[in-house]
């Protein structure tokens, strides 16, 4: 009997372990913007002082790294695109389980929207999925799913699928990416910036009030009550987004209701606030603020946090090191933003000057790289590659302006350590053309190889991430500067 019990136990334990392991891999990770639950759950207990929730405007309008760099404020953005008010409520409830922020900013763009359709729309289904599939499974799960079923009127079949989760997520085996297996950006706090610039219309300010419906006011009440119980100040805000007449009136409704409940509401589409914003330089093409606009909103939020006076400066505290990493990540993105404008290698190196000492730089020469001539050699000298090294060719790791590792073309597969990762280099010789080219492989991505020229790869060892990768290829028309196609640089 003991043996049988052991067999049954072995089967159950193995099944549970494997299935939960698989669940971890195939479950949805993306919250639809913001820092996401995956990163939120990884935070040290009670480290978040300021929480941002709400629609995509929340993660496009507030730069968590700016709050950290300027005041040492530990903030996190738990937003999602088109976040409905019920989803905001479920996110907030979940958020308070592991953190006790002192201030909660809820972005209200999507709050006061009524949907008359009986069928569950794709947007509603996405909100339901986000609230139910991204949060940890707990006793709350049942109540949440049942409450959503009441709100949206979906069928028992969907209810069961949401409770079991696997019926919804199991087909993801066809779309898995490296992100599903490891969280390379666990430090991200939620800001999703952009260098894109587009002209935005002025908000259509008016005095008309469209009051929120019962569902909306009910959830505002719940959010208010929970924040009160948790001792957090709740501030509602509607980020700048070129609100049209109806959207503006709906925000007037939110304002009216919020003020009747004694909650602070900031309409950032109001003419007074819009004085700070430049509609020709502060927006992207899609009604969200860009980096420039977000900096202004963040500065304003910073003032409100200052007024509250309960949030300490955590800079230098080891428990908050992930905020340092987030700030580095955002700094890297801003660096790339300036590197993007470089048209020549010289411009590129010049734009890099302030950051090159904190980054590891891989320079790998291929083919007849000498064709880049004396001008090219001089530019590489600025990166830390001396004249002899340039002449010899090969692959160099430059840290702090000094060569720290070399791979010669004669080597077999060689490894250069970049942060915690291994970068593998393999030279290939084309005997017919008498050309030697290098393959640079990092995290299963190949960053080589061009025929005549060099690859320059910037790597941030602090956050273990590639910052940028460019190729200099020498064609008949001269030296061309190309960017690795895998780099997503404009919006991040």
């Amino acid at each position: 009997m003991k043996r049988r019990f052991a067999q049954a136990a072995a089967f159950i334990i193995a099944s549970v372990l494997i299935i939960s392991g698989i669940y971890g891999v195939i479950s949805y990770k993306a919250t639809g913007g913001g820092g996401g639950f995956r990163n939120y759950y990884g935070l040290g207990k009670n480290t978040v002082d300021v929480l941002f929730i709400g629609s995509s405007h929340a993660h496009c309008s507030v730069n968590n790294a700016q709050l950290w760099n300027e005041k040492g404020i530990s903030s996190f953005t738990l937003s999602s695109a088109n976040q409905s008010i019920d989803t905001t409520w479920y996110f907030l409830k979940e958020a308070f389980k592991t953190q006790h922020p002192k201030m909660v900013f809820a972005e209200t763009f999507n709050f006061n929207r009524s949907d008359e359709t009986e069928e569950l729309t794709d947007e509603e289904l996405t909100n339901v999925y986000r609230a139910d599939l991204l949060t940890k499974f707990s006793t709350d799960t049942f109540g949440r799913v049942l409450s959503q079923q009441k709100d949206y009127g979906f069928d028992d079949n969907l209810r069961n699928e949401l409770l079991l989760r696997f019926p919804i997520i199991h087909t993801r085996y066809e779309e898995l990416t490296a992100e599903d297996f490891s969280n390379e950006t666990s430090y991200k706090k939620g800001y999703q910036g952009s260098f894109e610039t587009g002209q935005m219309r002025d908000p259509e300010a008016n005095d008309e009030i469209i009051m929120p419906d019962e569902k909306c006011t009910g959830y505002i009440d719940k959010i208010t009550k929970l924040c009160k119980e948790e001792g957090a100040e709740l501030i509602l805000f509607c980020a700048p987004g070129g609100a049209n007449t109806e959207e503006y009136s709906r925000q007037n409704g939110i304002k009216a209701y919020a003020e009747s409940c004694g909650i602070k509401f900031i309409n950032m589409n109001s003419p007074e606030f819009m004085d700070r914003i430049d509609t020709s330089t502060d927006f992207r093409f899609d009604e969200h603020l860009n980096n420039s606009g977000a900096a202004k909103v963040t500065a304003y939020i910073e003032e409100l946090i200052d007024e509250n006076g309960t949030c300490a400066d955590h800079r230098g505290d080891k428990a908050y090191s992930s905020w340092d990493k987030d700030a580095l990540y955002v700094r890297d993105r801003f660096l790339v933003g300036s590197l993007l404008n470089a048209e020549t290698l010289g411009d590129y190196i010049a734009a890099l000057s302030e950051d090159k000492d904190r980054l590891d730089v891989i320079v790998s020469f291929s083919g007849n790289h000498a064709a880049m001539g004396e001008e090219g050699k001089a530019v590489f000298t600025g990166l830390g590659i001396d004249s002899d090294s340039f002449d010899r060719g090969g692959t160099y790791k430059v840290s702090g302006g000094v060569i720290t590792d070399v791979v010669t073309p004669e080597s077999d597969v060689s490894t250069i350590k970049l942060g915690k990762k291994d970068c593998r280099i393999k030279y290939h010789e084309d005997e017919e053309k008498q050309i030697i080219t290098a393959d640079i492989s990092l995290d299963l991505v190949n960053y080589g190889a061009f025929v005549n020229g060099a690859t320059v790869l910037l790597y941030d060892p602090e956050i273990d991430a590639v910052v940028d990768c460019i190729y200099m290829d020498f064609f008949e028309s001269g030296l061309q500067l190309l960017r690795h196609e895998g780099m997503d640089l404009i919006t991040y």
Partner: protein, 507 residues
Amino acid sequence: MLFNSAAFLVFFPIVSIVYLLLPGKLRRIFLLAASYYFYMSWNAKYAVLILFSTVVTWLSGLAIEKVRTETQDSNDKSRKKEKAILAACITVNLAILFVFKYLNFSINTISAIRKILISGADSLGTLNLLLPVGISFYTFQALGYVIDCYRGDFKAEKSFIRYALFVSFYPQLVAGPIERSKNLLAQINTVPDKSRKELFNYDRIRDGLFLMLWGMFLKLVIADRVGILVDYVFDNYYKHGTGALILGAIGFGIQIYCDFGSYSTIAAGAAEVMGFNLMENFVAPYFAQSVTDFWRRWHISLSIWFRDYLYIPLGGNRRGLLIKLRNLMITFAVSGLWHGAAWTYVFWGILHGLYHVVESLIKPLITRIKKDFEIPEGTFGVRFINAVITFAAVDFAWIFFRAPSIKSAFDYIRVMFTTPDFWLLEGEGLYTLGLNAAQFRILSIALLALLFADIVREKTGKRFDRWMAGQWAPFRIICGVTLLVVTVVFGVYGAGFDARQFIYFQF
């Protein structure tokens, strides 16, 4: 309630655990209530039909027994009375079956004939009736019981609860196997006597659960996946050619085997967990050496039913070759009609009848050829060729079973033989038929597992769970965990898919 639904995931463990824990006397009542709940989760109103059929057949069995007991001396008179009761019982039950399953089909057929005979004749109105799930299964099971009573093969059951449980036993209620009273009712009678130790038999429960898991794998990983390809090919056959249509036909052969086979397997597993042993309904049918052999392996419970209650009463093969051939044709035509109220099913049945007729006629010739050419029986090559020929014949007939009409079935076959498209196998062509490369890979690996299970069944004569029970424990655990994980991850279910009903539910 579908076996592959979340509701069953809750229903099954609750019912099984409560059943195993209940005192003997209450077990049958509980199981009967659970079975009716299971049935009523589709359509509560139609429980009245099954109850009515149960009452009629139960009373008929008792009445036959009573007549036989009271009139022991006058055999002829008694026999006539018994026959009258049997006839009335069969009539009532078949009438219900006819109204709910065949009335609209009959009206449509008459309408079509009228239109041919009378120009401008209007269509006759049909009734808005929903086909009660599993009506053909429980009706045949109940009639089998009454016929057994009439023949004296089984003593009429006195307890209504026991008999009602026999008719409505939830694992096999809606899609078989069509159990015989000698097997299932006899087991139901012993339910209260089983000690808790007997019921909590670890090995039996483990094997039952493994069987259910295997059934779920067949249904969710194979049947419903290949069903995507089959649906696509049959819906778009006019756009494709030989390769795609052959693939569609083979796909349907696999789909219906795994779909129907999985239901019987899950049913047998669920019953086994509770200590019941249902008959084996499928025995590696695509390894059959002839169409006759195929019907000894495919839907065995129905084949036996038709053999015992139709073919043999018609005279079987004892009254000469012509009568035998006639009986074969009648039996298979009725079997086709049993499967569905459409001429495609009848045609499919007739085709199988013809296969039997041809096999009967050429059997002496084949025997002669084998002898003259010294073809070694039982060698792999011969068995393989026989199996391929049989599969081709059976699969060809499946086209009529799957097609929406006889006309489109013939059209499908015409396109299949006249439009070459063998370049389909090159490049990405194969992946334009509803399944992408990843899905094809999963399907191929799953089919290898099915092939392995059927080889095991063929070589060892043991059902897959019984064979597995004899294997080394770590191997069993690895197989069980793998099956579970593969089914959970690669099964075709949940969001984006409609929970597919088992094909045989419609019969």
